[in-house]
C-alpha cells in the first residue's frame, strides 16, 4: 500500500495521469512503457492503465422504463416560494370549497337564529358598540335582563305560585317550636295562636303530609 502511494511520483511523476488515461504523445508513451517493463515499483500502473481502458469501454446502462415518469410523479414540481398573497389566495380558494362554504353558511344561520332569539338586531349595531367596554356592558346588561326575565317567568308559573303560597301558609307552623318544648317564652306562643287559630288541628300533622294535601287540593282550587 505504501509503495503504491509513493509510486506516482516515481519516474512517471505528473505524467502518470496522462499515461493511465492514454493522453501521452507516442514517444512519451513508448518511454513510459519501457520504464514500466523494467521497474518493479511501477509495474502496477500497467495494470491500472489496463483497468482504465476496460472501464472506459463500458457503455452507459439504459434507465428502467418509466423511471422518469415515476420521479415526476413523486415530485410533480418544486414547491413555489409562497408569498403573502399566495397564502391569501390559497385561503380564499379553501373558502370557496363547497363543503367549507356550506359549513360556514350553516354556522352563520345558527348564529343569526341565536341573535334573533336574543333580540339582537344587527341594524342597531354602531362602531361604538364594538368597543370592548361597551361590548362587555351590553353583554352584562343582556345577561342581567335575561336572568330577571327568567326569575319573573318562574315566579309567574302557576304551580310555583301555588307551592309558594302553601309554604307561606305553613311558614308559621314551621317556625313554631315543638309543643313539648319546655320553653315558657310567652312571645313565641302568642303570635301563633293569634295568626292561625283555625289551623290548629294541622299542627299535629307532619309537614310532608300537609304538603301532599296541598297538592291534592289543587284540583279543587282550579
Amino acid at each position: 500500500m505504501r509503495t503504491r502511494r509513493e509510486s506516482p511520483r516515481h519516474e512517471l511523476g505528473e505524467r502518470l495521469q496522462d499515461y493511465l488515461e492514454g493522453g501521452l504523445a507516442a514517444a512519451e508513451q513508448a518511454a513510459a512503457e519501457a520504464h514500466i517493463r523494467t521497474c518493479a515499483r511501477c509495474a502496477e500502473w500497467a495494470e491500472a492503465r489496463h483497468a482504465t481502458r476496460w472501464l472506459r469501454q463500458l457503455q452507459p446502462v439504459e434507465t428502467p422504463p418509466g423511471l422518469e415518469t415515476r420521479i415526476l410523479a413523486l415530485t410533480v414540481a418544486p414547491p413555489p416560494q409562497e408569498s403573502f398573497w399566495a397564502v391569501l389566495e390559497l385561503g380564499w380558494r379553501m373558502l370557496l370549497q363547497p363543503r367549507f362554504a356550506l359549513g360556514l353558511a350553516a354556522a352563520l344561520f345558527s348564529l343569526a337564529l341565536v341573535l334573533n332569539a336574543m333580540n339582537v338586531s344587527t341594524a342597531d349595531v354602531r362602531v361604538a358598540d364594538l368597543n370592548p367596554v361597551n361590548l362587555y356592558r351590553a353583554v352584562n346588561r343582556q345577561a342581567q335582563q335575561g336572568y330577571a326575565r327568567g326569575v319573573r317567568f318562574v315566579n309567574d308559573l302557576w304551580l310555583v305560585y301555588e307551592i309558594r303560597s302553601r309554604l307561606e301558609e305553613m311558614a308559621p307552623t314551621s317556625e313554631q317550636p315543638p309543643a313539648s318544648s319546655p320553653s315558657g317564652n310567652p312571645n313565641q306562643s302568642t303570635p301563633k295562636q293569634e295568626k292561625k287559630p283555625e289551623n290548629s288541628s294541622d299542627r299535629a300533622r307532619p309537614q310532608w303530609l300537609l304538603a301532599c294535601q296541598g297538592f291534592g287540593g289543587l284540583g279543587e282550587l282550579r
Binding site: P8, L16, H50, T52, T63
Partner: protein
C-alpha cells in the same frame, strides 16, 4: 437556458423546467447509482431518492459554485454513502471468483477493450470488480472514468482537494487492475507484463 435560470424557474413552480432537469439528469444519476451499487433495483430506488432530495433542497443550489449537474452528483454521492453505511452489515462478502463470470468459457479469443466481444459479460465482470473496491476509491473512479467529470468537478463533488482526488483515482484503478488480472481472459491488452 443556463442552470441558474432553470433553477429559478423550477423554484417559481414551473413544471416544464423541473421536467427538463429530470429528463437531462436521470440517465447520468441512474448510471452513477448503478455503477456504485451494482444492482439495478437499488439504483432505481436511489435515483428516485436523489431526485426527491434535489427537489426538496433545490433552493440551496448556488450557481456560482458550479453546474447543476455537479451539484446533483454531490447530492447523489452523499446519498450513496449514507446508503452504503446503512446497508454495510446486510451485505455479504461474495468471493470474487464466484461473482465474476469466466469469459474464456464462452470466448475463444482474448477479449480486448477495442474489440466489441461479449460486451454484456465484460461489462458484468468489470462491474463486479468495481463493487469490490472500497467506497472512497470506487466513487472517485466512477466519477472520472464512467461519469467523465473533470478533476476539479470531482473535487467539488467529494469535497476534497484535487490532489487527493487524483491519488484516489489512481489507487482505485490500480486496485481494479489487480482484481481484473486474476480473471481469465483479461490479460494485459498491450502486452506489458510485470517483471
Amino acid at each position: 437556458m443556463d442552470d441558474a435560470e432553470l433553477v429559478r424557474r423550477c423554484l417559481a413552480g414551473d413544471g416544464a423546467a423541473w421536467e427538463e432537469v429530470v429528463h437531462s439528469q436521470t440517465r447520468r444519476l441512474y448510471n452513477l447509482c448503478y455503477r456504485f451499487t451494482g444492482r439495478r433495483e437499488e439504483a432505481e430506488d436511489l435515483t428516485q431518492e436523489v431526485f426527491l432530495r434535489v427537489f426538496r433542497t433545490l433552493n440551496s443550489y448556488n450557481p456560482e459554485q458550479g453546474p447543476l449537474g455537479v451539484w446533483m452528483h454531490r447530492v447523489a454521492r452523499n446519498l450513496l454513502i449514507d446508503h452504503y453505511r446503512a446497508t454495510r452489515k446486510q451485505r455479504l462478502a461474495v468471493p470474487l471468483d464466484d461473482a465474476l463470470p469466466h469469459l474464456e468459457q464462452k470466448e475463444s479469443g482474448v477479449p480486448r477493450p477495442d474489440r466489441a466481444l461479449a460486451q454484456s459479460e465484460v461489462s458484468a465482470a468489470v462491474q463486479q470488480a468495481l463493487t469490490r473496491l472500497s467506497p472512497d476509491l470506487r466513487e472517485a473512479v466512477i466519477l472520472r472514468d464512467l461519469q467523465g467529470l473533470e478533476y476539479r468537478e470531482i473535487s467539488q463533488v467529494l469535497e476534497i482537494p484535487e490532489g487527493t482526488v487524483k491519488s484516489r483515482i489512481n489507487r482505485g484503478r490500480a486496485e481494479l487492475g489487480k482484481l481484473m488480472k486474476r480473471l481469465p481472459g483479461f490479460e494485459n491488452p498491450e502486452g506489458i507484463t510485470a517483471p
